[in-house]
């Protein structure tokens, strides 16, 4: 099998699986899930074959797709180091989540639709990863948006799913609007949207890098990775099934924004990079605060995801795309673990998601609880776990480049530890606080095994030296660069202290502030105004809601009114009515009296006379 064949298979297997499910297995949930998981496994194998075959050079292949005049689109693969790293992560984590879903979705009525959706998602996601040009990235970018829409709306009879799926798609479209314009401008600016060619061009002509185009392009990232001000869809997206949250809204799709930035990093000038850094930092802190006011286990994790995406963006903005990618990968491991753990908890608690109604799960679901704890620690950046390496690198980079960002990100780390501590202490320790929690059982094997594997990865995934040779070259390069940066060792020392302090203080603080197995939120009790402020999340949803219902819908209604009454009613109908009235008037001229008709004759003669008069 040539590498290109392997890549093509990687891309098409999930599509075939989705098509097969859609056409033949709509009512056979069991078979559909098997097919989908098999497809995920196959594509995982194919992708590793391709990655293996890659060697040092990038795999490049391209076919013509469409051409009109000077506008030519091709479809092709660019499997370089970054793509290979991402592909390995996505296909592997994807497979684990597929397996997890086998257990989680077992009793779901619309199992086939779910697995079909997962397959479409895998197809689109791999498409983004492999794409060799911006247009193809955009195509699959939109397709992941669609599969995300479909999977968020999986529980379609619920109002939350209905609203959340719509919101996710539309908010993403806002980002895509900028992305689209960016692509269009880039095409005529560079004469191509091929990543390799554009990179060569910018190397040869640095002046070609254009801040405007870059600004448009990063809109796509802002939408997909849920950055300010388009972050509102991600927490709501938790209305989807938990494996979806794990796969799409934590590990892969939202990270695609970062991946995209890394792919086009050569197009971004310094100003835009700085903006991304600040944006990411702000989101990291903002989301950290928001998480404190959430009681839904998945929403807490969602804000955590937001916050971690902020870290990645900050790292990227600071000029270390490799470190951003590093954090992306480690984050995928532990966040997938956390989400799947949450899924396991939810599964065990019969779809109870409020952490204040759980409690005591450590005893009833020990594997889940322990793996979850590993995830928490990894996320907090406890020394030696996956999160430590990547987060530390980010903090160091921050400290070296911009002190304010460093301070804010450290604050973010502290906040992370705090809300994760709150989650863990309240949900897993103490006594059960509801029937559902007290009857919780450990999840079946299909769900536990992925947890264990991911836990393992969360522990060792950060040790870059253990990674296969072919993967992570950019990460190694950037880490290397960081190590050799001026003031590295001092900063490393500081970060070690501050970072560790952050998670220790955070976890312990949460332990003492909230207490083990608390029944309600202490913060809400003692400082309701603060809690309410945090819960309001800076009123983004309210502002958007206000805009939609009071501005956009009203404006639309006014325009609609004008269209119906002014244009159609007054002008069109009016002119028709005018003819009608004229018609009635003319009709009344036919009075039936001979004399009147004779007058017409006379009038006509006079009129003719007038014409004669004009000639004479």
């Amino acid at each position: 099998m040539t590498p290109v064949t392997a890549l093509t298979l990687t891309l098409l297997i999930p599509l075939a699986s989705a098509a097969g499910i859609a056409f033949f297995l709509r009512r056979r949930g069991g078979l559909a899930s098997t097919l989908s998981v098999a497809a995920a496994a196959l594509l995982c194998i194919c992708s590793f074959i391709a990655i293996n075959a890659r060697g040092d050079a990038a795999i490049v292949a391209s076919w013509d797709w469409l051409s009109f005049g000077e506008f030519k689109v091709s479809m092709g693969f660019l499997l370089d180091d970054v793509a290979a790293t991402m592909l390995a992560m996505v296909s592997f984590v994807g497979l684990l989540i597929h397996v997890f879903s086998l257990g989680y979705m077992k009793s779901d009525k619309a199992q086939a639709r779910f697995f079909g959706g997962l397959s479409i998602f895998m197809f689109s996601m791999i498409g983004i990863i492999l794409a060799d040009n911006l247009i193809m990235i955009f195509v699959f970018w939109e397709l992941v948006g669609f599969s995300s829409y479909m999977l968020i709306g999986h529980y379609l009879e619920t109002e939350e799913a209905k609203a959340a799926s719509k919101k996710a798609f539309i908010v993403n479209r806002v980002g895509d609007l900028g992305f689209l314009i960016g692509i269009v401008l880039a095409y005529w600016h560079f004469g191509t949207t091929d990543l390799t060619k554009m990179e060569q061009l910018t190397l040869g002509h640095p002046e070609l890098v254009n801040a405007g185009i870059a600004a448009f392009l990063i809109c796509g990232f802002i939408g997909k990775s849920a950055q300010f001000p388009l972050h509102v869809w991600l927490p709501d997206a938790m209305a989807g099934p938990t494996p979806v949250s794990a796969l799409i809204h934590a590990a892969t799709m939202v990270a695609a924004g970062i991946y995209f930035l890394i792919r086009i990093s050569f197009l971004l000038p310094v100003e835009v990079l700085g903006f991304v850094a600040w944006l990411g930092t702000a989101v990291a802190v903002y989301a950290g605060f928001c998480a404190y006011a959430q009681n839904d286990i998945k929403r807490i994790l969602a804000y955590s995801t937001l916050s971690q995406l902020g870290y990645m963006a900050a790292a990227f903005g600071l000029g270390y795309p490799g470190i951003a990618l590093f954090h992306l990968i480690t984050h995928a491991f532990f966040k997938a673990l956390l989400f799947l753990g949450a899924g396991s908890v939810i599964h065990g608690c019969h779809h109870e998601q409020d952490i204040f109604k759980m409690g005591g799960l450590l005893k009833r679901m020990p594997i889940t609880a322990i793996t979850f704890a590993i995830g928490v620690l990894a996320l907090c950046g406890v020394y030696g776990l996956a999160g430590f390496y990547s987060k530390d690198a980010i903090l160091i980079a921050g400290g070296l480049e911009k002190t304010v960002i460093f301070i804010l990100l450290t604050l973010g780390a502290f906040l992370t530890a705090g809300y994760m501590g709150r989650l863990f202490w309240v949900a897993f320790l103490g006594a059960p606080k509801s029937d559902a929690a007290s009857h919780a059982k450990e999840s079946p094997l299909t769900m536990v095994i992925p947890l264990l594997i991911l836990a393992g990865l969360s522990v060792v995934g950060g040790m870059i030296q253990l990674w296969p040779e072919g993967l992570g070259a950019l990460i190694r390069f950037d880490l290397e660069r960081l190590h050799h940066a001026e003031g590295y060792s001092a900063m490393h020392h500081d970060v070690l202290i501050y970072g560790s302090a952050a998670w220790v203080v955070g976890l312990l603080g949460a332990f003492f502030f909230y207490g083990v197995g608390a029944k309600d939120d202490r913060l809400a009790r003692i400082a309701p105004s603060v809690f309410a402020f945090l819960k309001a999340r800076l009123w983004f949803d309210e502002i958007y809601g206000f805009y939609v219902s009071q501005v956009q819908d009203r404006f639309a209604a006014i325009l609609s009114f004008l269209d119906v009454f002014l244009l159609r009613g007054l002008i069109i109908r009016g002119s028709a009515g005018l003819v009608g009235i004229l018609g009635l008037g003319v009709r009344t001229l036919h009075v039936g009296n001979l004399h009147a008709y004779v007058y017409w004759f006379l009038g006509g003669l006079l009129l003719f006379w007038a014409f004669v008069g004009t000639v004479l």
Partner: protein, 501 residues
């Protein structure tokens, strides 16, 4: 074979001009023969319609076989001392009028069946009118023109008032009579002025035969600014406008159309209008050629006003015969576009004739369906009574739809090509404003034509379901309708068939 016959006739015609008007003579003989038949016995009397139609059919066949104008030799040659002159259209118009007479007789057969009215006189008059019109369009002399015109008009007075038991028909008759006589007087006065000016020895180009078109043409060419000439031309034009029902002499149209019996309405709408237009064309290309600076704005005005008046008045009209009358005014307006363009565009006469032919076919379809649908007084037919007509009478509805479609000018009907040709001509002649008015008129006309079509198919509840009252058309009627519709469609797709005649 035809050639041989034509040669033979040509040989005779060289010595005897009566051969030239053989069709007219045959028609007159037929008309008189009908009256004689009437006198014979009641057993024979009931064959009168068949004889009339058969005779007309024979004459039509004869006309299609032999082109009598050819007997005279080349076009443009005159006969009877310049009274008659053949032109390129005289043969086609002969066919046109005989065919209309045949169709009107057919309609008359339906109309007269079951009515206590004189039978043979109707056919007699119809045939005479046809003969008169045939002479009218060939006349090359004002005396001929007047006599032929009055012959047709006087016969029409009788025909309009033919339903002598109906006060509406009689009222229409008296209105047509008085207004017709008035217009004749005006026409005459105009002729007199032209005659007087054209014969005035003090003026250049005066001739002793100033009622002759050719003489007048050369005279007017020398005196285009003479006020008497202009006034005379204006009055003649007014008289003809009355015949074609153009604004501002259109006001009688709806009343007379409504009151007249159905076949007569059709005859008035089609043949009378066609004759008027052919006369107008021959006048404009003949005596009035030099007056085009004066006549063009008048014609443009009349055309625009007719189109607008006819269409706007028809929009709110519910009575179908009045509606057809008003739409006829609009059609006169469209035709006048062609007439106005004919000053500069050579081929537009063909377009006018083509328009007349499609108008003929479509109108006969509509009138035939009108005659076949329902009983009682056809003066009261209004659109509402056609509600849901298609359910009971799908065939008639289909035919009516085609006919109305052609009148509205919609492909693939002949009416579309006809309108298109006129528009092309108007464009070439630079009559842009008129073109705009015409487009507006077509758009407005869609309202009432489609209002009628909609009524046919609309599933509304109707108090008086006309469809149920009408009998299913007989095979014969179906055949005639089919033939007409096919002809309309063929004209729309392959307009060249006209030139085959």
């Amino acid at each position: 074979m035809n050639e041989g016959l034509a040669d033979f006739l040509r040989g005779i015609a060289a010595t005897n001009e009566w051969w030239y008007i053989m069709p007219e003579i045959l028609l007159a003989v037929l008309a008189l023969g009908l009256l004689v038949l009437e006198l014979l016995s009641p057993a024979i009397r009931k064959h009168v319609p068949r004889v009339a139609m058969g005779g007309l059919g024979l004459i039509l066949a004869l006309l299609l076989m032999v082109d009598c104008s050819d007997c005279m030799g080349a076009n443009g040659q005159s006969a009877f001392g310049g009274l008659l002159q053949s032109n390129e259209w005289s043969h086609l118009m002969r066919v046109f009028f005989v065919f209309s007479a045949l169709m009107v007789s057919y309609l008359g057969g339906i109309f007269l069946a079951g009515r206590n009215l004189a039978q043979s006189e109707f056919y007699h008059l119809v045939i005479l009118v046809a003969a008169a019109m045939m002479l009218l369009v060939q006349s090359n002399h004002f005396v001929m023109l007047f006599v032929a015109l009055e012959m047709a008009t006087v016969a029409f007075y009788v025909l309009v008032a033919y339903r002598r038991t109906s006060s509406l028909s009689l009222e229409a008759g008296i209105k047509y009579l008085i207004l017709g006589a008035l217009s004749s007087s005006i026409l005459l006065f105009g002729i007199v002025l032209l005659y007087g000016a054209g014969g005035n020895p003090a003026l250049p180009g005066a001739s002793g035969d100033s009622l002759n078109f050719d003489a007048l043409e050369s005279f007017i060419a020398l005196n285009p600014d003479n006020p008497v000439v202009l006034t005379g031309a204006m009055l003649v034009l007014a008289g003809i406008c009355f015949k074609i029902g153009a604004v501002p002499f259109q006001i009688w149209v709806p009343d007379v159309y409504q009151g007249a019996p159905n076949p007569v309405t059709a005859y008035l709408a089609i043949a009378s209008k066609a004759a008027g237009f052919m006369v107008l064309l021959s006048l404009l290309h003949g005596p009035f050629l030099a007056l085009q600076d004066f006549l063009l704005p008048v014609l443009v005005f009349i055309a625009a006003a007719s189109i607008l008046f006819g269409n706007i008045a028809a929009v709110m009209q519910r009575n179908l015969k009045r509606l057809l009358g008003l739409s006829g005014i609009a059609h006169a307006g469209y035709l006048l576009i062609g007439v106005a363009a004919s000053f500069t565009i050579e081929w537009v006469d063909n377009a006018v004739v083509f328009y007349l032919i499609t108008y003929l076919l479509a109108s006969f379809v509509v009138f035939l369906v009108l005659s076949l649908s329902g009983e009682g007084d056809d003066a009261d037919l209004n659109i509402e009574r056609y509600a849901n007509f298609s359910r009971e009478q799908p065939f008639l509805s289909g035919a009516l739809t085609c006919g109305l479609g052609s009148l509205a000018g919609i492909p693939p009907m002949g009416g579309f090509v006809a309108k298109l040709l006129l528009f092309v001509a108007a464009f070439q002649a630079g009559l842009y404003g008129l073109l705009g008015v015409a487009v507006l008129g077509v758009v407005i006309s869609v309202y009432y034509y489609f209002g009628w079509i909609r009524a046919l198919y609309f599933n509304g509840s109707s108090v008086t379901a006309l469809g149920e009252a009408s009998n299913a058309p007989t095979l014969q009627n179906r055949f005639v309708l089919c033939a007409l519709v096919v002809a309309i469609v063929v004209l729309g797709i392959f307009p060249a068939v006209v030139s085959l005649v």
